[in-house]
């Protein structure tokens, strides 16, 4: 009995020390509403966009699969210090993204992280793709396909175009399994987007290689 009590006390102390252990998805959902995050982001799937007009009316990216897309550690930190991911403003070809995304304080950020991490897609399998520097992925990303035309990446001289979300630190932000799932099933996640569909152009092995390669960007 004494041993059990000690164990529980240790667990409690550890949880207190980490802080995040008390985070609560339901509380995060309330914060998400109260802070008006819902003005720009929707969190219930499936995707709602059916036309260009639907996509252009959006003020920010959909988050209904955020828990499959992002790495939890990154998300928790980003919500407290949201540096721009896109070089240009969402849905703009002319205006720079100067930042200004609302910040959340520690406890709220932890709750919202729990909430967003609960928004997942069954299309994303866990642990299938691991970060891996590989010549095939690099060749597809930088030469054979136009990925670098729109996405910033850690290149030697040319470091990528401006219109897509930056992938320069994608290895810290994105779940490698999501990168693969998104390439494979682009339209389910984003029915209307400025990125071409590569399913049917690239085979699954190539898509896996690209996902492994992008997951190494840090």
């Amino acid at each position: 009995m004494r041993r059990t009590t000690t164990l529980w006390m240790t667990a409690g102390a550890l949880a207190l020390a980490s802080g995040a252990a008390w985070a609560d998805a339901a509380a995060g959902a309330k914060v998400f509403q109260a802070k008006k995050c819902t003005d720009c982001h929707y969190t219930d799937g499936p995707a709602r966009e059916k036309s260009l007009a639907d996509q252009l009316a959006k003020k920010g990216p959909e988050l209904w699969y955020a828990g499959s897309k992002f790495q939890k550690d990154w998300l928790g930190k980003w919500l407290q210090d949201p540096n721009p991911i896109r070089p240009l403003k969402y849905n703009s070809l002319t205006e720079k993204n100067t930042g200004g995304h609302p910040k959340l304080a520690g406890a709220e950020a932890a709750d919202v992280t729990e909430f967003l991490m609960s928004r997942t897609s069954p299309l994303v399998k866990g642990g299938e793709i691991k970060p891996k520097t590989n010549p095939k992925g690099r060749l597809v990303f930088t030469k054979n396909m136009p990925c670098s035309g729109c996405h910033q990446f850690p290149g030697q001289k040319f470091t990528g175009g401006m219109n897509g979300p930056s992938l320069a630190k994608a290895g810290e932000r994105l779940n490698p399994d999501w990168i693969f799932a998104y390439l494979k099933d682009t339209k389910t996640f984003k029915p209307v987007r400025q990125m071409p569909v590569f399913a049917g152009v690239l085979n699954e092995q190539d898509m896996k290689a690209v996902a492994e390669y992008v997951a190494t960007f840090k």
């Binding site: 260009l52 070809l93 396909m145 035309g149 040319f158 219109n163 400025q194 071409p196």
Partner: protein, 120 residues
């Protein structure tokens, strides 16, 4: 019965009048998909074209260059990407993304931008 007939005729006419609104809008498609590299005015200067961009995206306002291409040439590059015409893979294949009527609308819009008819 006659009223019903008139109502049906009116319904049909309204439907026909509305129909073009559902047709692919070449300018809107261009601004969404193509302008990111080719520029909103078609001059090949979209926001992706940063320093060290490996290729100069085509300037669609150059009638002399655009006249060397037939509509089918343009359609093929949109569908299969630059390499199909020995051009850069920076021009993606849009064949799995765009519907046939959307590609047709884009070809038409490029002819508006170049103010040219192209090789027949």
């Amino acid at each position: 019965m006659r009223t019903l007939f008139h109502a049906a005729a009116l319904f049909l006419a309204a439907g026909l009048a509305v129909a073009p609104a559902f047709a692919a809008d070449g300018e809107q498609l261009y601004k969404f998909y193509c302008a990111q590299c080719h520029g909103l005015q078609g001059k090949g200067d979209g926001p992706n074209v940063v320093k060290d961009f490996p290729v100069d995206p085509r300037n669609f306002t150059r009638a002399d260059e655009m006249n060397k291409l037939s509509d089918a040439d343009i359609r093929n590059v949109i569908l299969d990407g630059g390499p199909v015409a020995n051009k850069s893979p920076m021009m993606p294949p849009w064949g799995k993304t765009l519907a046939k009527d959307e590609v047709d609308a884009l070809v038409k819009h490029l002819r508006v931008l170049c103010k040219c008819k192209g090789k027949s």
